[in-house]
């Protein structure tokens, strides 16, 4: 009796394995046959599914709980130009690339910077935004200090948030200055507003926003960012049609000034602030 059971077990296990083999086989087969571009899938469905994650001012919730932001405008415009509806799939940032790869949505429009590591697993379109590390200084303390060298001196105090690109960058560009590190961006900015540090480094548009809000104490000595970043839409690999479509969409909307106009609205002004109700 026991022997029989064992034999059934082995038979069952073998069956299970063959089922698994067949199903994985069919999956790869499906992918091979699925040479249809995601562009066609979107057209057929009549809906483009966009993966994103909230990050001010790229994408955030307004008072009504609806999504607004630069990214949201971009995705809506893409959908409009394709003649389809847009559906946003808010996704936790850590899992956004796996979610794209497993087909939870068609494209990531989520303020994702191009990095060589990420590019190994996804395809990036032409960048539709260029952010970077910005700089805001205290008007009194840093009066007349308008060159990079002016800040690279002992006695100069720079505030940064611990562990972000801006912190590494500050050490690289201003090795002589003293670095004050904080756990929070808000604290780093507050320190400069309070006059305890000469300037603060952080990723744009925060330095611009703080300067607008505290224009009596803060100013931006440089009109360029200290280090550039490039944000692009991300697509699954092996789909040249989609890459071509979205890249050229960015190209067209860059040329006609639409992207720049929207970017300035969200990044250079704060006219949208009432909508969020901070």
């Amino acid at each position: 009796m026991k022997f029989l059971h064992r034999r059934t077990m082995i038979a069952l296990a073998a069956a299970a394995f063959s089922v698994a083999a067949v199903s994985t086989g069919s999956v790869s087969h499906a992918q091979a046959a699925d040479a249809e571009s995601v562009v066609q899938t979107i057209k057929k469905r009549g809906v483009i599914k966009v993966g994103m994650s909230s990050f001010v001012p790229w994408a955030m919730r307004d008072k009504k709980g609806e999504l607004i932001g630069f990214e949201i405008d971009v995705a809506k415009k893409v959908a409009e130009d394709m003649g389809v509806e847009v559906e946003f799939v808010p996704t936790a940032w850590d899992g956004i690339i796996p979610a794209l790869l497993s087909g939870k949505f068609d494209v990531i429009i989520g303020g994702m910077s191009i990095t060589p590591q990420r590019n190994l697993s996804v395809n990036f379109t032409r960048p539709y935004a260029r952010s970077g590390v910005g700089f805001a200084a205290n008007k009194k303390l840093a009066d007349g200090m308008t060159t990079l060298d002016a800040y690279n001196a002992s006695g100069v105090k720079l505030a940064v948030r611990r562990g972000i690109t801006a912190a590494t960058l500050a050490q690289k560009i201003f090795p002589k200055a003293r670095l004050l590190q904080f756990d929070d961006d808000a604290q780093a900015f507050q320190e400069v507003v309070n006059g305890n540090a000469h300037a603060v480094l952080s990723s744009e548009p925060k330095p611009t926003f703080w300067t607008i809000e505290n224009s009596d104490v803060l100013y931006q000595p440089f009109d360029k960012v200290l280090q550039r970043g490039a944000e692009a839409m991300a697509l699954r690999k092996g789909d040249p049609d989609a890459l071509n479509y979205f890249s050229n969409w960015v190209e067209v909307r860059t040329n006609d000034g639409w992207l720049a106009e929207r970017h300035d609205y969200w990044f250079k002004t704060q006219n949208w602030k009432d909508e969020v109700g901070k």
Partner: protein, 297 residues
């Protein structure tokens, strides 16, 4: 018994005063730290609007993100408890079955899930398994064509129809995960019924199904109620983990609101009160049920 309990509760000793004082001092210290050291500017004004907002177009109050997330968590909890109980019951019977194959299935299920961290299991399920089952992705396309009446009932039962696939995959992963623990509780309950009860029932000539139905399960049930209540409360709290696979429940909604408004402390304090309300409500419910079953025994 009741009297002794009542007396115990009202007696206050100096130890209680010391403990209370230490707690008050600790809270005061925390408030001081937050106010003076962190320079945190409290602003509770944004929170009510994210619970319920006044819609001027419709002229009525509409639930906003946090309330919607709360309802999603509530739906996830109720369906999760039902589904996990069914899984737990079936697998618990398998675990105690006399058939080796069923026992092996039950055991494999429990060990596979119990020995993997919840987050890892959830990621594997979401990224590998659920994307191979077209149901979750296609259900959204199917819902788009449903009639208004069926949409309304779907909305009542499972939340916004657009998020149905998202909700179901969250529900199934949660139920599969918690079901493993409930299986063990069910098994322990069934096995705790004394051998004599089985033998007595057998001697009455009851079929195996009737033995279970009339003799074993009723006795086991009242024994497993307390650990079961604990497991259900765990299920509700664990439902916050599925926010990491972007299931749009309370924790996920809270992350979005906190990101958008920068009011981190206020949002999470509100959310913890909401979770507490659900879980505490659940434990009160079970307490009453427990009393009733112990009375009827």
């Amino acid at each position: 018994m009741m009297l002794a309990n009542a007396q115990k509760r009202t007696r206050v000793t100096w130890v209680d005063f010391v403990v209370a004082l230490v707690l008050v001092l600790f809270v005061a210290f925390l408030v001081y730290r937050v106010n003076d050291v962190l320079h945190y500017r409290w602003n509770w004004s944004v929170i009510p609007n994210f619970l319920y907002r006044w819609d001027e177009e419709l002229g009525s109050w509409m639930p906003n993100l946090l309330a919607l997330g709360f309802y999603a968590t509530l739906r996830l909890a109720i369906w999760g408890i039902l589904l996990a109980s069914v899984i737990g019951m079936v697998m618990g019977l398998c675990r105690t079955s006399s058939i080796l194959l069923l026992r092996m299935i039950g055991r494999s299920y429990v060990e596979l899930i119990r020995n993997v961290p919840p987050l890892v299991f959830i990621f594997i399920f979401y990224f590998f398994i659920s994307s191979q089952i077209p149901l979750f992705d296609d259900i959204g396309d199917w819902v788009r064509q449903a009639s208004p009446e069926s949409l309304a009932s779907i909305e009542f039962l499972f939340g916004p129809p657009k998020l149905l696939g998202n909700f179901l995959s969250g529900l199934i992963v949660l139920a599969l995960f918690e079901g493993a623990y409930i299986t063990e509780i069910v098994r322990a309950g069934l096995q705790s019924v004394e051998r004599g009860q089985w033998e007595a029932a057998d001697s009455l000539g009851l079929s195996r199904f009737d033995v279970m139905r009339y003799v074993i399960v009723p006795q086991a049930f009242s024994r497993v109620l307390p650990p079961l209540a604990g497991q259900f409360i765990s299920l509700i709290k664990d439902s916050s983990i599925v926010s990491l696979i972007s299931i749009q429940e309370l924790t996920f909604a809270a992350t979005e609101v906190a990101n958008s408004t920068q009011r981190v402390f206020e949002v999470w304090i509100t959310v913890s009160v909401m979770y507490f309300a659900i879980c505490f409500g659940c434990s009160l419910l079970f307490e009453r049920w427990e009393k009733r079953t112990s009375k009827s025994r």
